[in-house]
């Protein structure tokens, strides 16, 4: 029996449903279920889409979905961070100081860093995530080799900054979400950070259906007869604009009135004005899974995924996925389990959707393959055992 307690450090914890935050929520919830006391250290900010430099919550101890959650006031200095973002958006090159400003003056909490000192001992194992935010850098660099890291790396500019190397060097353990993420890290930092990167564990992310099976569909918007689903934030970084464009072409030649249903928030202007698109916005977790379960498949054309919980949710519901052939993580997930199709252009996209619509047996087979793959590789029992063995 694992005798220590686990402390998870993450910038946001609550209703926000980013990938890293979902990971933290699932991990802490499931650890507590299994008798390992897990608590969460986070900021008073609600989400990165709110004014994250403002405290939406009062500092103090909360209980979020049964998890002990300690909130600390955020850092309030914005200007250096905004300056870096401005430079990035204009495509200007950054100095090392800019990179430093990005991490130090982004979402952060000096009070949290100081308070964590009481937990840096033999009684606790601390884990911080993700690498993209300043808070993770601050806690790990302040207590070198005492806090483990779940980086959630993507192939993006910040991954190549010098601060990332320092973060890896100061981490106690490194836990990767996928073999591709680990390979990317070895490729860039293998030589400099050394064998600790090579020998780090690929834990994956725990994915299971919510325990409540008694969901009753209430008074909800009726769903189309035949539809595909995109579940996640609507943003260009996720190639949602491409998805709209490609689906319009497919809709023009589709044999029936097939639609694309969007779930989640984000930039609504990315959804083309057409009756072939249905944007449900935010829905409950149960409703989301219900919508996915009745669909012909889940589509995710994002190229920057370190794990893609959305694809996993599709498989949980027994439906196949259509992913980008240019995203190594999702493509390899799909290839490993024969759980969907991967496309690299509009024509392949149309052909793939047509295939899924016309071949019920193959579609169900792909969904079943995906579900078996999850049970084998990413059930919480399997994933948490990988973490605890290392800790």
């Amino acid at each position: 029996m694992f005798s220590k307690k686990i402390g998870i450090v993450t910038p946001w914890f609550g209703r926000f449903a980013g990938g890293a935050e979902l990971l933290a929520r699932g991990m802490s919830r499931e650890l507590n279920k299994r008798g390992v006391h897990a608590i969460v250290f986070t900021t008073c900010s609600r989400s990165p889409y709110d004014s994250w430099w403002q405290d939406h919550y009062e500092p103090g101890v909360y209980e979020v979905e049964g998890i002990e959650t300690r909130r600390f006031a955020t850092g309030k200095v914005r200007e250096p961070y905004d300056s870096v973002i401005s430079k990035l958006s204009r495509g200007k090159s950054l100095t090392t100081q800019d990179e430093e400003n990005f991490f130090v003056n982004g979402i952060n909490s000096n009070q949290l860093v100081q308070a964590l000192g009481d937990y840096v001992n033999d009684e606790y194992e601390l884990i911080a995530l993700p690498y993209f935010h300043g808070l993770t850098h601050s806690v790990i660099n302040h207590y070198p080799n005492r806090i483990s890291l779940v980086p959630c790396f993507h192939d993006e500019p910040q991954f190549y900054w010098s601060a990332t190397e320092r973060l890896l060097t100061n981490s106690k353990h490194i836990f990767f979400n996928s073999p591709e993420e680990k390979q990317l890290t070895i490729k860039q930092y293998g030589r400099r950070v050394g064998r600790r990167v090579v020998e780090s564990v690929v834990t994956g992310v725990g994915v299971e259906l919510p325990a409540s099976n008694g969901y009753q569909a209430g008074k909800t918007e009726p769903l189309p007869d035949s539809y595909f689903v995109y579940a996640g934030r609507k943003e260009r970084g996720k190639n949602v604009h491409l998805l709209g464009d490609w689906f319009l072409k497919y809709a023009a030649q589709a044999p029936r009135e097939t639609r694309l249903v969007f779930i989640g928030g984000g930039d609504e202007s990315l959804v083309p004005a057409s009756d072939r698109f249905l944007d449900l916005g935010f829905v409950s977790e149960e409703r989301k899974l219900d919508v996915i379960r009745n669909s012909k498949g889940v589509i995710n054309l994002s190229k920057n995924e370190s794990f893609s919980i959305v694809v996993m949710e599709g498989w949980l519901c027994g439906v196949p996925s259509v992913v980008s052939a240019n995203c190594p993580v999702t493509r390899n997930h799909v290839s490993r389990c024969n759980g969907g199709l991967f496309v690299s252009n509009k024509d392949e996209f149309c052909e793939a959707l047509k295939y899924l619509e016309e071949h019920d047996a193959a579609r169900e087979r792909m969904g079943a393959n995906g579900r078996q793959y999850l049970a084998r590789e990413f059930s919480f029992d399997v994933v948490l055992a990988r973490y605890l063995n290392e800790l």
Partner: protein, 534 residues
């Protein structure tokens, strides 16, 4: 059409099929090439007699080309063809005009080809060009030729229709050929696309394998470098460890050497001590022998000389002197240690201002006398053990060999400023002790000091065991008893010193049992009483 993959679903293969399908739909559709009219085959080669109707059935450039071939016996030149076509197109010339022009040209005349049916039309054309009359002539001709013209018109329509059909048939044939060719090309393209897709798949597989191999190589390289670093580090660590071990062993060796030397020194001292003891024994035996021989030699016994028996008895009393000296060495403790212990009594002498007149009864090895001498205090000792007396004398101390009681009895009253006796009283029978105390009281000066030290039986280990380590001990004397005896003989007991309690061995704690245990087992093993003669 893609297959439903069923249970043997393979996404890679399926994607390959999808790509091939897409590729087949993306073949560029070329525009049909324009049809070229078939070349008219001239049939006017070699004849030199024609009728105009033979030529008038042709139209356009075919008419001009055949007119040239028939009348001039050659192919039309480019300029001629252009000129005649232009004339026909303008409507100013008709085909009769062209034939007349060619036939009447110098080249036409020289070719000597006969063309029937041309004379009348030429004549009519010429008349038709005359003013006024020409119009009437043209009108008359036109009316006259109307049936013929209608016939020609019908023939022309048929000709046009047949040409059109021919053209369509030709076009259909070419289109069919083209379609066959395109299908062939499509099939080839499809095959090519499939091969390309297969190749691409193979390339992707290769790229993945290459990438995996590269990653493995990188991992191995990193491990190798680190192992190398680790090995170097390990070697250095082992080297340092070995050096440290070597240093430790050297130090241990030094210590063992020192211990061995110390042991050798102790052994040497012990041997020396044994040698001295043996020498003492020999000297004692020699002395006894000499005395007895002297006694035997003189034979005569005078009232002033001791008898043989007296001498023998006296010597018998000293038979165990050497043994007791050895016991002293064994159990009393090292001389330096004893000297150090006895320092506790010096303040009493100094406080009383005593500089001389100190007698140490049972002075043993003379440690106290040595201490007094080092402090500038004059003292003397008395002991009945010849061996120890000899040692004291050897050390330059003033010591008398005699029984203490007998010695004191021969001294006048108030002879000493202080009398000391360490670890003697426990050797004496009670009566002797009383007598000794009485003699001490007598020979002390008023204000003189008596110091007595003896084992403390209040310490259970001493009272039950350690006291009996010396077989010449008689009875342990509790401090209260001795104090009482001293005071009962006329001295004032000033201080009882409980000496050298074993504090460091005491068990910690305030519990009553612990306290009592500590008191019984770790309290002072010796005590001393300092008394004064009033």
């Amino acid at each position: 059409m893609l297959n439903d993959s069923g249970s043997d679903l393979d996404v890679q293969r399926l994607m390959h099929e999808i790509r091939a399908n897409v590729a087949s739909r993306q073949q560029p559709v070329e525009t049909l090439p324009s049809l070229t009219p078939s070349a008219s085959q001239g049939t006017f080669n070699g004849n030199n007699h024609y009728h105009v109707n033979d030529l008038l059935r042709f139209h356009g450039d075919e008419f001009v080309r055949n007119a040239y071939r028939a009348l001039l016996r050659r192919e039309p030149d480019e300029a001629g063809m252009a000129q005649h076509l232009e004339q026909l197109a303008s409507g100013r010339f008709n085909k009769i005009d062209v034939l007349a022009s060619l036939h009447s040209s110098p080249e036409g005349r020289s070719s000597q080809v006969k063309l029937d049916g041309l004379a009348l039309p030429i004549a009519v054309r010429r008349l038709g060009r005359l003013p006024v009359v020409g119009y009437v002539v043209r009108l008359a001709v036109a009316v006259t030729r109307l049936p013929v013209s209608i016939q020609h018109q019908n023939r022309f329509e048929f000709y046009t229709w047949s040409q059109h059909r021919s053209l369509i048939a030709h076009q259909d044939q070419h289109y069919q050929e083209l379609r066959d060719s395109l299908q062939q090309i499509s099939a080839q393209m499809l095959e090519l696309t499939q091969r390309t897709a297969e190749q691409q798949q193979a390339n992707e597989l290769f790229a993945r394998q290459y990438e995996e191999a590269l990653m493995k190589y990188r991992e191995l390289e990193i491990r190798s470098v680190e192992n190398r670093n680790l090995s170097a580090h390990e070697i250095q660590r082992l080297s340092e460890q070995l050096s440290a071990q070597l240093r430790d062993h050297q130090q241990l060796l030094q210590e063992q050497k020192a211990e061995t030397q110390q042991f050798a020194g102790q052994l040497r001292e012990e041997l020396l001590s044994r040698q001295q003891q043996t020498t003492r024994e020999l000297l004692m035996q020699e002395r006894r022998l000499t005395v007895l021989l002297e006694q035997l030699k003189h034979g005569a016994v005078t009232p002033f000389t001791p008898s043989f028996n007296e001498v023998a008895n006296d010597e018998e009393d000293h038979l165990l002197d050497a043994l007791y000296a050895s016991l002293e060495d064994q159990f009393r403790g090292p001389r330096d240690e004893v000297r150090r212990r006895l320092q506790v009594y010096l303040p009493f002498l100094k406080e009383a201002g005593i500089k001389n007149g100190v007698l140490d009864i049972g002075c043993g090895r003379g440690e106290w006398l040595q201490l007094l001498r080092s402090e500038g205090i004059e003292g003397q000792g008395v002991d009945r053990n010849r061996v120890l007396v000899e040692e004291c004398r050897g050390a330059g101390l003033n010591v008398v060999e005699q029984d203490a009681l007998a010695y004191l009895r021969n001294l006048p009253d108030e002879s000493f400023n202080a009398i000391t006796t360490f670890h003697l009283v426990e050797h004496l029978p009670f009566e002797t002790l009383i007598r000794l105390l009485d003699e001490i009281v007598r020979t002390l000066k008023p204000g003189g000091i008596l110091i007595v030290e003896t084992p403390n039986p209040e310490n259970f280990m001493v009272g039950s065991c350690n006291f009996y380590a010396d077989p010449t001990h008689r009875n342990p004397i509790p401090s209260e008893t001795l104090k009482f005896l001293i005071e009962s003989r006329g001295l004032i007991s000033e201080t009882v010193l409980k000496l050298r309690p074993w504090d460091e061995a005491k068990i910690a704690g305030d519990d009553e049992l612990i306290k009592r245990f500590n008191e019984y087992f770790y309290s002072a093993p010796d005590y001393g009483i300092v008394a004064r003669k009033p």
